[in-house]
Symmetry: C2
Subunit: 456 residues, 2 copies
């Protein structure tokens, strides 16, 4: 027998083994989706979480109840272990006063729909308004143009981005850093156009942070339609005055918890693959898409594998992080504990972009080999609508794990509707489609299966 | 110079031409999406159509008003010509009575939420109920088991299909053909489980057709949750009686219209590329996704190309068909006229699967070369979320054109939410996301641009 005949036979053998493994994977992934679409629990758990325990901001009664409830749900599922991780979290409260009024001779009185930004101090102001879209404009205006005034950041989200998270990225600096940038020149308060692509009457909250160099001034968001109104009326009447008041404040840090559940690995017992979402949610809504969806999908991903009798090689965890919205303390604490317990996390997946129809996964790596390693699963996942496998952010909660070399993945659902609801009172359970939620859970379970099977 | 050097230079030249054409296409498609996302009219037109002119069933006042309104909208856009095509359509009316009651000793009285199926005769029945999931069961039961009874078709949609239209295809025979299949064995009426994947309290209507061999009996749909209730209670109490009544009826055919608008071709003036949706909608809702969305996307696709100053090679039309829901007379009439006027339709695109996030296009052809011809545009369209280019149905309204050899394409949006709303009172404007609608219009415009540019 000639050498190339032997080689050919060996190659055929290897190829047929590869084929049969691929067929096996394909069949198992089909079973994952069947399980999710016929016998899932995520939708009913999310309904309870949203409608019975809305307003789960860190430090609140809602957050504590959500920890208890999800701990109970995960215990009922009888995974190998379910436990809490203690973590001290910030405790900001909105208070009960939030007024933004235009009340001036010659202008029809109007109340703007507003909400305090998370972390903002309370306070009062009654002053002229100066509108800016870029931070550079503040530098040009200087103290002469800003001192004693309310700065209004009005840069809208750029609608031309197809992926709306890119539009969010181009806007959110106004909300986060705007207040101190304005305080630097003597502003007395800031208003920001809600970071939403939809023109409507919901104010969207979200975290802001003060630069310790400058005075802390009240920072509020107004609805997109009121922001449009304000811009138009400032053009007509640059001397327009706004009176605002808020009594939001920060209380002492509070003890809270991450909720963790685990399927034990059968081979690599010191290595971990985790999937997670965050259990805290802003106090103005139900946190259905942000991020109740990610929590119940993480729970369901493990439930699917467990129901199918899957024995993982690595330890597999669902982690419900506390305090993603205004501090990331849960994510940091989780990574600290992982380091100190020498738990090597090889993969972390986060679902925190809403519970919409699945599109793919971001791979948080500059290493082309990491991208191609995940992208090679594309043909197995395309039948389920997953086409996007590309470089991108994994998720805030899992990002502290990157220090220990964890490869972080971010689940990508369809992004068109997310910012309509994000951080607003409209992020409610009725916006969730059961099948979309289930397909997301199945997508994550399928990715865990592939990574568990093929990671050394 | 050697021959292969010459060949190499020629090939490089050809390749660089190809490259530059691809770059040009890529840039123009980017402009199409920019236009759609920043300056579209489809959302506001759809809002008017849904909220001011709901219930646009063929023959109704709503349908006539919708024709007038959309004709006016298209005239305002100043395309090269806008005109109506006369078509006689069926005129079925629901009437004002629709009752399905369980009222029997030992069972708590219950009214089931129901609606007559389109085309059903009215009538009364008070009888035992026999539940079946497959037509074969009727043959087994025969007259002995069916005569004098109400047949209840309860086969649910199969949730394991990823594309929900496949689940619809596996169920809708009960609604369309069930009544006559049951009448064959002497049934006095039929009930059908609403063809929806969602368990809720909306009844979903839709067309049914009688087989002229058998008596016409009343045919009604009940909500999915009432269908589940009825199945459960029939198991407990097989002698359960249901009293039903409906006064739906068919009036004489009525004159109605297709609405057509056109951009004149600059080169192939006898050849046509059309995109369309249907203007009629069931009388119980606003017809937002089915198919107001398809109508305004067709209008917007031409508007985008026109706003960008695009001069088409072929004639390009948007066609708003009348009577897709219960007769297809508009689609048939359009094809007849095209034949008689010798208007060669090379391509027809239909958007009639909802206004959700775009996913791709079905190609209605058994010819692999037709599939690959369209699929080769994939790389240009993937940046916009369009990945699915595969064999599948084009659309009902354009299907009569297939006789003249037209290649029919069906726009594919995300399918998860469609059957929750389909033919129900819940198909309302608030379920439309502006960006998803606009991205669909841009997807269709991009496909028209590519086909117009590259079709000989």
């Amino acid at each position: 027998m000639r050498i190339f005949q032997i080689l050919f036979i060996l190659m055929s053998f290897a190829f047929s083994n590869l084929q049969s493994q691929t067929n096996q994977d394909s069949l198992f992934i089909r079973r994952i989706f069947d399980q999710a679409l016929t016998d899932s629990r995520c939708y009913e758990v999310l309904e309870h979480l949203c409608t019975k325990i809305p307003a789960r901001l860190s430090g609140s009664v809602g957050a504590a109840k959500a920890v208890d409830y999800m701990f109970q749900v995960l215990k009922e599922e009888k995974f190998d272990s379910t436990f809490l991780q203690e973590v001290m979290v910030p405790h900001w409260v909105r208070g009960s006063i939030c007024k933004v009024n235009v009340n001036q001779k010659g202008v029809e009185p109007k109340s703007l729909v507003a909400c305090a930004l998370g972390g903002s101090v309370g306070g009062k102001a009654n002053a002229n308004v100066v509108e800016v879209q870029q931070f550079e404009e503040l530098d040009k205006l200087g103290e002469a143009g800003i001192k004693g005034k309310i700065v209004f950041f009005s840069r809208p989200m750029e609608p031309r981005h197809i992926h709306t998270f890119e539009a969010y990225g181009g806007c959110v600096d106004q909300r986060w850093a705007g207040p101190s940038k304005a305080a630097k020149y003597g502003a007395v308060a800031t208003l920001v156009r809600s970071v939403s692509l939809r023109e409507d009457s919901y104010p969207h909250t979200g975290a802001m942070g003060y630069d310790s160099l400058y005075p802390k001034i009240p920072a509020l968001a107004i609805s997109t339609s009121d922001a449009t109104w304000l811009s138009k009326n400032l053009k007509r009447n640059p001397q327009l005055r706004v009176a605002l008041e808020s009594d939001s404040r920060t209380l002492p840090d509070t003890l809270s918890h991450n909720v963790v559940t685990q399927m034990r690995g059968s081979i690599s017992t010191k290595e971990f693959i985790i999937t997670g979402g965050h259990l805290d949610a802003w106090d103005n809504g139900q946190g259905a898409h942000d991020d109740g969806a990610g929590c119940v999908q993480s729970m369901e991903a493990l439930r699917i594998l467990s129901k199918l009798g899957y024995i993982p090689k690595h330890n597999i965890r669902a982690v419900l992080f506390m305090n993603e919205e205004n501090g990331l303390r849960g994510g940091k604490r989780y990574a600290e504990l992982a380091d100190s317990l020498k738990e090597k996390h090889i993969i972390a997946i986060e679902s925190d972009r809403g519970g919409f129809s699945p599109r793919g996964f971001y791979i948080d790596s500059d290493e082309p080999s990491n991208i191609s390693r995940i992208a090679k699963y594309r043909s197995l996942l395309e039948p389920y609508g997953l086409h996007d496998f590309k470089k991108g952010g994994g998720g805030s909660d899992i990002s502290p794990l990157k220090k220990q070399g964890t490869l972080c993945l971010g689940f990508i659902p369809d992004s068109q509707r997310y910012f309509d609801l994000h951080h607003a009172a409209s992020d409610t359970f009725d916006k969730i489609n059961k099948r979309e939620l289930e397909l997301g859970a199945a997508s994550i379970a399928a990715m865990i299966y592939l990574l568990d099977t093929y990671s050394e």
